[in-house]
Amino acid sequence: MTTHDLTATVDARNLSCPMPIVRTAQQMKTIASGQLIEVLATDPGSLKDFSAWTRSTGNTLVEQTQENGVFHFIIRRA
């Protein structure tokens, strides 16, 4: 896993749909275009949801990893 210059982290572990997306969208408003956000989630649906959400919003899913049942997304704001 490469290290990224993260501006914010969203801890959405143990949250169910649609809260990981809702929290991320809210946090996204606080960062500038081009900055990176990190999201931690345990909802298995988030794997498909975060790639769909980045496609609808135009943000970029930079990295997506999984470790001990925790999904880890790095997203760049458009």
């Binding site: 949250l15 169910s16 649609p18 809260m19 997306i21 809210q26």
Partner: protein, 189 residues
């Protein structure tokens, strides 16, 4: 009077034409996607998808409007309101069907409130958001809830009976206009 001379073409100010101004203003509208939901029901198992789709649409950058009509108005009545309306029929309707987001029944397996209670317990165990939390999130994300004027009148509901932050009451023509805009998805829940 002589016209000022300009050294490079870059300095020449070209006034924008009406067409280019209109294009600049119209461009974001074309790109804007929209979700319109008709929320007809006051049942827990329908309010949940309404609120989940609405919050997710708003979180995905879509404009989202939820037209709340008929039974669908009741979850948007203030929780502390018990009896609403002016005449005995309106009052009896609210007595038979308690309004408020905390008082949702289920369309099946209600069993005098046992069903919603069990779903509530399971939701807590599995960290599924409650309708109250989802409604808060929807309002924070800018989802517009438009009450139906006609059914508000029929139930005898006043603006003061309804929760804060709702849009102006409107009718079917308003919803049709929203639904027929390009880039719009519509749901009846």
């Amino acid at each position: 009077m002589t016209a000022p001379t300009l050294s490079t073409p870059d300095e020449i100010f070209v006034p924008p034409t009406v067409a280019t101004l209109m294009e600049a203003q119209a461009a974001p509208e074309v790109a804007q996607k929209q979700l319109v939901i008709i929320n007809w029901s006051s049942e827990y198992d329908r309010i949940m998808p309404t609120l989940i789709m609405a919050t997710t649409a708003a979180a995905s950058g879509l404009t989202c409007s939820v037209f709340i009509t008929f039974w669908g108005l009741l979850p948007f009545v203030k929780d502390q309101k018990r009896i609403t309306g002016d005449n005995w029929m309106q009052k009896m309707l609210s007595a038979m069907q308690r309004p408020g987001i905390h008082h949702l029944k289920m369309s099946k397996m209600n069993f005098m409130g046992m069903g919603p209670w069990m779903i509530g317990q399971l939701s807590k165990q599995l960290n599924v958001s409650s309708p109250v939390e989802l409604l808060e999130a929807a309002q924070m994300l800018g989802v517009e809830f438009i009450p139906c004027q006609m059914t508000m009148d029929m139930f005898g509901l006043k603006r003061d009976d309804m929760i804060e932050g709702l849009g102006e009451p409107a009718g079917a023509a308003t919803v049709i206009e929203l639904m027929t805009q390009p880039g719009t998805a519509s749901l009846f829940i």
